[in-house]
Subunit: 357 residues, 3 copies
């Protein structure tokens, strides 16, 4: 299949930036500096790769003004100058992706089951063996993959894509232009139990999950419904795979979480936060906006001040770890010894003064 | 829809407690102190919220005798006094939940596939695109959601609810009144391999998973089948989402695990234990009854004594962590310096005695 | 059902080893020392169980030459001597497993959906409610479980088993003789976004997942597709449950990962490595061949030297941990105090010399 081409003039009309070169030049795709072919455009997002940029085979280069000036005559191809070449790359890659994609299906697959009481937009697609229960609403252009289970009264916004084998429990709401990856579970019961003489008494979980627009939810990620109030994921949140979000959590706009993160119930997390892989947040905590948690770190108290926070044991050769871990276990005794030493020195100094005095 | 109401007199007949007020008063639901409306009942489970309790709009309040005495005339509504208001809340919430729920479906959905060699109780429900293989037994009132895969000879107990897209492998047994949430996998092969000159030789996993009564299993949780013997989950165990239970584990009655916990193969865990989120247990360990493991903690040795155990690196601002982590890496040298100092002081004291002596 | 029997003479013909005893003796299965019946064979893989071995009811014993010599006349049954009894056990267990298994199904279940543009080998099995999209190729003897979703142009190699409710995204390739367990997701989008003034711009993920031969993938494990290049899992890799593999990772032959491991994007991991449960690897790192990471350890830098590496905070009684964690937080001040002490001692010694001098 021949890849479709776009004129560079059209690229800057669409995505902005300052073009240095022939606007009639066409490109068929975007690729990293080292991989790009002579029919593609490439991008320089890190000054340390300037030499690679000048050597790239790409017919055109997206770069910042600073890199443009620094490179000067060393690069002879066409340039597009923009404030953020990496974002420019992302948008142009999206454009090429859509340009070369198969047309999106619509209609209901003959093997799907759709309740007569459900409402499915004519432009939506319902895949093989998907099931849509009574009262559910599937918006314009939404795409529901194979084996997806949509329970009663769920709402799926326009242009949202729910991939194969996702499960969405009753009454949950998902906004527009979201992507939910396979195996994700939205709206299962939160983990709420009262303990009566050792036995657990289940507390019914009657809240919902409300997910905003432009949210991405990774494969095998779970987001529990609220106990009484709702679990809320605001617009623009991005969650990677294997993440656990407990009941009644509230995650602010544009916050990002990498794989394997866990957030216990009722945590309130601000906007524009980032969580590295396998970071964990205890329940009922408050995390301010613009907090960044490093991978593998355990958040056991509220964080009210923006910044980067970390807490994991540094890796070492096993034999070295055995040593340091044994000392960590006995840090109390080490501190006591240090205090004794400090005291002895003071005593010594006092004695010494007596002698010298 | 009008919510159904219950007389307070009927509440205490059903759930116990001592009523102070009008038994004819009806309530339509239960809610927390701050959310409850004038038609609802509320509960006080923590003395520090006494002031909120006296200000609640609720028509009635569930509380302990101690709080009842402490509050005195400050609260003018109806009261129910009970030993454990939180458990009372849980039970009453279950009651209202059932009262206001739609009637449970029964019968086999036309899109489901049920083997002619399977046995399905007439009162059970089999949802869209579920599959029930030969020899499987589905008990009275069991509820099998959309896309659930029940393999050969699996037994599902009465009143158990298996939510959408759960997978249960052949020969596993699940007790009565259990809840299994979407995406859970029960009975996949344990991780058993022998290493022959670098290559892994698979050991067939021929045991089963046996799950007792009143067990809850969270979304996307995995419980592996035993290698030769069975993996056993006793009555009343509650497991949150994204949990991994390895082959041949044995988990005692009423033990609770929060999200993201991992338990490696052949661990034997006692009764009434609790595991905080993302706690990890190595294989072949024994954990006594009534052991409580904090979130994010790694259990690398058997624990034979009840109590609370913890082990995670404390979170800090990243710059501070960089410093402390560097010191942790070199704790051996720090200890050596301390020893040298101690020795020097002893030497000094000896010298000093000589001088003074 | 009577279990099928095999002559010991046939066992050594098939799997090697030196037989001491009657080759006409039949065995119907293999079991551990303490469980084996008089009709079974057992194995001794650890010298510390020699006494148990001599007491076993099994009609025959697989053991090493060293154990054979050490045991001498204490054991009177038949023996098979081999270099690696545990591997011998695994192979013989596989043999018995196959011998006593039901014949594997083939053909397409009437409730499955197979695109007319897909290619399914006549000897393959497609289970209930599975879906196979256009362009997919299902190899000889492959087994596709209930509710599995195979997207466009996916290739599944011969004899590979895909268990119930697995999701495989378009264009991914899985080799021969693999096992993929339920809930696994292969080929979901990697977590790639550019940040434009706080908002996330999605980078299309156009690479694939390429999985070699003889790979095992555990329940609810996720392996993301590459962003531009492919994510690669080489031959013989074994992955346990609940694992996350980010986009563009490359995992070398025969590497093994236990449950709950997370590997961030673009990590390059060598051959014959092992990762304990819940170990985590940051993105873009390189891990050499034969590196072994302990459970619960966080790999935050590349590891270029083979060996065992560890990094987790040692578990303690909670009260003790509270103490040591407080000290860890203040290790900087402890180090400063130690320095001050060292200085004071030097000063003291100098003074002392002055006095004595």
């Amino acid at each position: 299949m021949t890849k479709k081409s776009i004129r560079l003039g059209d690229v800057v009309d669409r995505f902005g930036g300052q073009l240095f070169g022939n606007p009639e030049q066409g490109v068929v795709g975007i690729a990293p500096l080292s991989d790009a072919t002579e029919e593609q455009i490439t991008f320089l997002s890190n000054p340390k790769f300037r030499t690679q940029a000048t050597a790239s085979k790409a017919v055109a280069l997206i770069l910042s003004e600073a890199d443009h000036n620094a490179i000067g005559d060393a690069y002879i191809g066409t340039r597009i100058i923009t404030a953020n070449p990496y974002v420019y790359f992302a948008k142009l890659a999206q454009y090429f992706f859509a340009l070369n994609s198969e047309p999106v299906e619509s209609g209901i697959h003959p093997s799907a089951w759709v309740s007569p009481q459900a409402t499915v937009a004519a432009s939506a697609y319902i895949g093989p063996h998907a099931s849509i229960e009574a009262g559910a609403i599937i918006g314009d252009g939404a795409w529901i993959g194979a084996g997806v289970a949509i329970a009663k009264r769920v709402a799926i916004g326009a242009q949202t894509r729910i991939n194969a084998n996702v499960s969405i429990y009753h009454d949950c709401v998902i906004g527009e232009r979201c992507v939910v990856h396979s195996g994700a579970v939205i709206g299962a019961d939160g983990f709420g139990f009262a303990n009566e003489k050792g036995k657990w008494v289940k507390i019914p979980q009657t809240g919902r999950v409300l997910i905003g627009n432009d949210v991405e939810i990774g494969a095998n990620t779970s987001i529990d419904r609220g106990a009484l109030a709702d679990t809320i994921i605001e617009n623009g949140v991005i969650l990677d795979n294997q993440i656990q979000i407990g009941h009644n959590c509230h995650i602010g706009e544009n916050t990002a979480m990498a794989g394997c993160v866990g957030v216990a119930g009722s945590a309130k997390i601000g906007k524009n936060c980032t969580f590295g892989g396998a970071a964990m947040v205890l329940g009922h905590l408050t995390i301010a906006d613009n907090v960044h948690i490093s991978s593998g770190s355990m958040v056991s108290r509220s964080i009210l001040e923006p910044g980067q926070y970390t807490g994991f044991y540094p890796l070492a050769k096993n034999a070295d770890w055995e040593k340091t871990a044994a000392i960590v276990r006995n840090l109390g005794s080490m501190r006591d010894k240090l205090k004794a030493v400090e005291k002895a020195i003071k005593q010594n100094e006092a004695n010494s003064k007596d002698i010298q005095g």
